[in-house]
């Protein structure tokens, strides 16, 4: 397979096209502008369409429209823009439309900054209004981002649900070699789509249920899908966990930096490992829970003030103490900083 050196955002866009994405609706916001820019050239080469929307609100409602006719569609944004996309993401979840959304996170709150951050974990995993979940995939490299984007389209179609790629500004902005695999040949039933009612009754794409019993039934139906995701779609990477007494919990770029720190600590004889959630929803609870009794302290490392740590604590039911180390505002933790944290915990555990 051909290996290409690509910028993260462009690689994400190319992966989407190769997965069959025919439509992209976007709005400029740093640090993800290369995605709409790339799509504005690329989609017309494959018979698709690109629209620069008037706002993130409009862009996300446009993907609702294209998904309703059964086409593969994507939008992307960064943190403040994602807040504006929440409206239509909730509608997509309610109307059971397959859409893929990329969030290249930056710092917040408010306008925040434009440097890498992981401050949208909550927004991604506890999204929007109403009872719903997006399936959230968190890549730690550009190769993984490419692979996950291709998977995202299949997962969206399979579950008829929004799938979110949650990456930080580093994934979006750095360049790495990538290879693109062939898309799967999976075929999905789209008989629900609004393609014109030829030889059938009209189809309706809708998230309104005025009768309480109907809406309760619908909520339960959606949650059966989320339960299936929790059974079948959890992805997690465990690194050097077999004999680990200390473990780091981290996702995305932070996990990659933590891995370097883990390797360094191992050379000092510290038994430390890494648990890296790849799906943030469904959260890999079992991967944490199984180390109750083995791991003495968990260190959650994030580029936030501590958001995923809540799910880590829930996963271990506080039967393992969970400590936190975070950098925010666009500050990226160095391997040395994390190594210092590991050393301190190792001392604490040995006492």
């Amino acid at each position: 397979m051909e290996k290409l050196l690509m910028k993260g955002s462009e690689a994400i866009a190319e992966a989407a096209v190769r997965a069959g994405c025919k439509l992209f609706f976007g709005y400029p916001i740093t640090p993800q502008n290369e995605i709409p820019e790339y799509m504005s050239k690329r989609l017309f080469q494959v018979g698709g369409a690109f629209v620069q929307a008037e706002s993130e609100v409009a862009a996300s409602n446009m993907i609702y429209g294209s998904a309703a006719v059964g086409e593969r569609v994507m939008t992307s944004s960064s943190s403040p823009g994602m807040a504006l996309k929440q409206e239509a993401i909730s509608y997509c979840a309610g109307a059971e439309l397959p859409v893929v959304i990329v969030n290249i996170m930056r710092g917040g709150p408010g306008l925040g900054g434009i440097q890498p951050s992981q401050s949208d974990y909550w927004q991604a995993t506890k999204p929007g209004h109403g009872d719903f979940h997006s399936l959230v995939l968190a890549p730690a490299s550009i190769q993984e981002a490419v692979d996950l984007v291709m998977d995202a389209f299949d997962l969206a179609d399979q579950y008829r649900n929004p799938v979110l790629i949650l990456a930080d500004g580093l994934i979006g902005q750095m360049m790495e070699p990538v290879t693109f695999r062939q898309p799967t040949e999976r075929v999905f039933d789209k008989s629900w789509a609004v393609t014109g009612c030829v030889d059938r009754k009209p189809n309706i794409v809708n998230s309104l249920f005025l009768q309480p019993q109907d809406l309760e039934d619908h909520n339960h139906k959606l949650f059966r899908k989320y339960a299936q995701m929790e059974r079948e779609e959890v992805r997690v990477e465990e690194y050097l966990m077999d004999d680990a007494e200390l473990a780091i919990a981290a996702y995305g770029t932070t996990a990659r930096i933590a891995r370097t720190a883990v390797d360094a600590a191992r050379t000092e004889g510290i038994k430390v490992g890494l648990i890296r959630p790849i799906t943030l929803f469904p959260f890999p609870k079992a991967a944490f829970e199984r180390y109750v009794g083995q791991v003495k302290v968990l260190l959650d490392v994030e580029m936030s003030m501590g958001q995923m740590i809540e799910d880590v604590r829930l996963a271990v039911h506080d039967r393992i103490p969970v400590r936190f180390y975070g950098r925010v505002g666009g500050m990226v933790p160095s391997p040395g900083e994390i190594l210092d944290q590991i050393r301190t915990l190792a001392q604490e555990v040995s006492q």
């Binding site: 409009a58 429209g65 294209s66 393609t195």
Partner: protein, 252 residues
């Protein structure tokens, strides 16, 4: 049927037979029927997708006999953009009220018009938020009492603004191909409105088409249906004049 019997009037297939929830005297039903008749006459029911808005006509997806998408408040033109860009071979229309289109959805309608999305927008303007209980709309007339302008809409001291004239506003754009305002207040008006809607659908694949319909809200206005029709003719039409503001094919 005997040889002498001839059907001269029937239910359009563009409508379902479901009873609507509209209040007595409301003209949404008339507007729905005109759209449905157009769909029938053009023979496009099986290649038409409609957008239902938020507001009184939120349940339009249950009334039109074609594929339908329910859109979030004001976003129907954006959703329609997504549909039409994905499937340019389909006829796509949105059906929206004044709160939906002229307030929360102002950005979406202006930019859909400016991009020249090949859709038809049916805009029912009755100068009030009906569904939520009769609050001020962007099209509410000056002095008109609503539940949020209890002393009448006051553009002066209370800073409630003046009615927004959407057809005129959109006609400032270069791109749209057809923009008209009609009314539904008399049988003659209804026939004219029907011709406008049909022309909009016929021109749809040449560019953005927009039909504003002056309608009523007897419940929200606190009037009988016939008082409402009279009032709309006397008060609304002078502010929202009937006319064709753009028809590029005819050089307008």
């Amino acid at each position: 049927m005997s040889a002498e019997e001839k059907i001269v009037f029937s239910y359009p297939t563009g409508l379902t037979t479901k009873n609507t929830h509209y209040c007595p005297g409301c003209l949404h039903g008339v507007a729905h029927r005109l759209v449905a008749e157009t769909i029938d006459e053009l023979g496009i029911r099986e290649k038409t997708v409609g957008m239902a808005p938020v507001g009184c006509s939120v349940l339009a997806y249950e009334y039109f006999g074609c594929d339908m998408v329910q859109a979030s408040h004001g976003r129907a033109p954006a959703v329609a953009t997504g549909v039409k860009r994905a499937r340019p071979d389909l006829y796509v229309f949105s059906y929206q009220g004044d709160g939906d289109l002229a307030s929360i959805g102002l950005a979406e309608i202006i930019h859909a018009a400016n991009r020249g999305e090949k859709i038809t927008v049916i805009f029912y303007n009755n100068a009030i938020y009906g569904m939520t209980g009769g609050q001020m709309a962007p099209t509410t007339l000056v002095g008109m009492k609503t539940t949020t302008t209890p002393t009448g809409r006051d553009p002066g001291e209370r800073g409630a603004g003046n009615p927004i004239r959407m057809a005129e506003l959109l006609a400032t754009l270069f791109t749209p191909v057809y923009i008209t305002r009609q009314s539904l207040l008399t049988p003659q008006d209804i026939l004219k409105a029907k011709r406008a809607i049909k022309r909009a659908f016929q021109l749809q694949n040449t560019g953005f088409t927009f039909v504003e319909l002056v309608g009523t809200c007897p419940t929200g206005w606190g009037m009988t249906p016939s008082e409402s029709n009279d009032w709309a003719g006397e008060k609304m039409v002078p502010v929202f004049p009937i006319g064709v503001f753009r028809d590029t094919e005819k050089g307008i």
